[in-house]
């Protein structure tokens, strides 16, 4: 069964919307912010790719957003952008499922909540803050705002979250449980992540025996959301192409079976010790690229790679990769200039924590 991509909604350090992502792929333009974190040892500065949710006001009225924090706003905006791109914002959507993946969850809100409980003389807990801290809060707000009553699922599987979500979406559509699925992922920058980055990756703050495995030149914290409207191919075709297959497993135990005649978009983001292992598994001469220089490092980065693969299908072009030194290998055939996609499929591959892997292949 083929699953077509009807619409895409993305936001991150590259901008807001699939058009901004397309521009960033062509120009390499993205906007990195410097975040200042106050610590007992003084202020520290951390680079991050942040997402702007101002456009959400054009979809949802201010009053309905008042209890909704930045993390959930990113998810909602991603959903509305995807529906707008699919021309389904005001249409009768039929029975639609919603699946939201996240690696970290609502970290800012959750850490603030924990902080208030730990530091107050009498532990207090804001009901609104608590309700927003649970993992399915984003999915709930989306269902409410879209008035959707179909199945609703929140998935958290660290850096395999988006692949896991796509696997469920694929299954729902195959079982004809729904007519379409709004599936995507979201993760946010938080002070805790910033402090973590400072401790482990900052050049002047190396901890022996750990930083050597990482790549501080590339590990920039990213945040954002990426959402997709999926439907069965026989119901509707799409210029973005279709999802051909979704696979997950453990490469340390069983290796990886990768699709043939594919270009590979690798989820290397400078954070994972797996970044250097891609070279062991990619077929010789296969074209590879990494685009984390546009969206940063975040557990759900593969979602942006899927969006980029869809843009490649639409334009017939494989966009040039970010800095190839991220792979630390001469064996890989990194795409240094835009190339014709030809008849290739695209495989978005992520090697993750504990030997886990996930890939999603797209074809035209």
């Amino acid at each position: 069964m083929k699953i077509s991509i009807k619409g895409i909604g993305v936001l991150g350090g590259f901008g807001c919307g699939i058009g901004d992502l397309n521009k960033a792929l062509i120009t390499g333009k993205r906007s990195s912010s410097t975040m200042v974190i106050k610590t007992t040892g003084g202020d520290i500065e951390v680079p991050a790719f942040l997402a702007n949710t101002d456009r959400l006001k054009s979809f949802v009225n201010k009053r309905d957003l008042r209890r909704i924090d930045h993390y959930i706003r990113m998810a909602i905006l991603g959903c509305f952008l995807a529906l707008e791109d699919a021309d389904m914002l005001h249409a009768n959507r039929g029975k639609m499922g919603i699946i939201i993946a996240t690696g970290y969850g609502s970290t800012c809100n959750t850490f603030d909540l924990q902080n208030s409980v730990i530091t107050e003389a009498a532990p207090f807990c804001s009901p609104i803050q608590f309700s927003n801290s649970v993992h399915n809060a984003a999915a709930t707000y989306i269902s409410i705002l879209l008035k959707e009553v179909g199945p609703n699922l929140s998935v958290s599987h660290y850096d395999m979250s988006i692949t896991s979500a796509f696997l469920s979406a694929y299954q729902w559509l195959q079982e004809e449980r729904v007519e379409s699925v709004l599936v995507g992922s979201v993760d946010e920058y938080s002070k805790i992540l910033g402090y973590f980055w400072h401790c482990l990756y900052n050049k002047g703050n190396k901890k022996e025996g750990f930083v050597g495995k990482m790549n501080p030149e590339h590990a920039i914290i990213g945040e954002g959301a990426n959402f997709f409207v999926l439907a069965r191919e026989n119901e509707t075709a799409s210029p973005y192409g279709f999802i051909e297959d979704v696979k997950m497993g453990n490469f340390k135990r069983r290796g990886i079976n990768l699709p043939e005649n594919a270009a590979f978009f690798l989820g290397a983001d400078g954070y994972s010790e797996c970044d250097e292992q891609y070279a062991e598994y990619i077929p010789e001469k296969a074209l590879v690229a990494s685009y984390s220089h546009l969206y940063g490092g975040l557990p759900v980065g593969t979602g942006f790679d899927i969006a980029i693969a869809a843009l490649s299908n639409k334009s017939g072009t494989i966009f040039k990769s970010g800095d190839s030194s991220i792979f630390n290998s001469n064996r890989l055939n990194v795409i240094r200039h835009n190339e014709n996609l030809g008849s290739r499929r695209i495989c978005c591959l992520k090697l993750g924590a504990g030997g886990s892997y996930g890939w999603i292949s797209l074809n035209q």
């Binding site: 201010k62 209890r67 009901p127």
Partner: protein, 82 residues
Amino acid sequence: MTTQEKLKKLIVDTLHLEDITPEEIEDDEPLFGEKLGLDSIDAVEIVFQVEHHFGVGIKDMKEGRPAMQSINTLAAFIEARL
């Protein structure tokens, strides 16, 4: 600052009412009426914030319903227990 003024600021800030200022809330207008448009989740948040900022607990619906009619009734409830 009077208890009423403190409550208005508290409600606007903690319930994130960006489209209204504390001064625009009238002392006797219903908190859960059309103008403010607060709902049951806001009511739970107000109970929490009143206990957090004034140290006054609203124990149940029996106490809460009459106390949260307006800014004036809530202020009177708090002042009677301070």
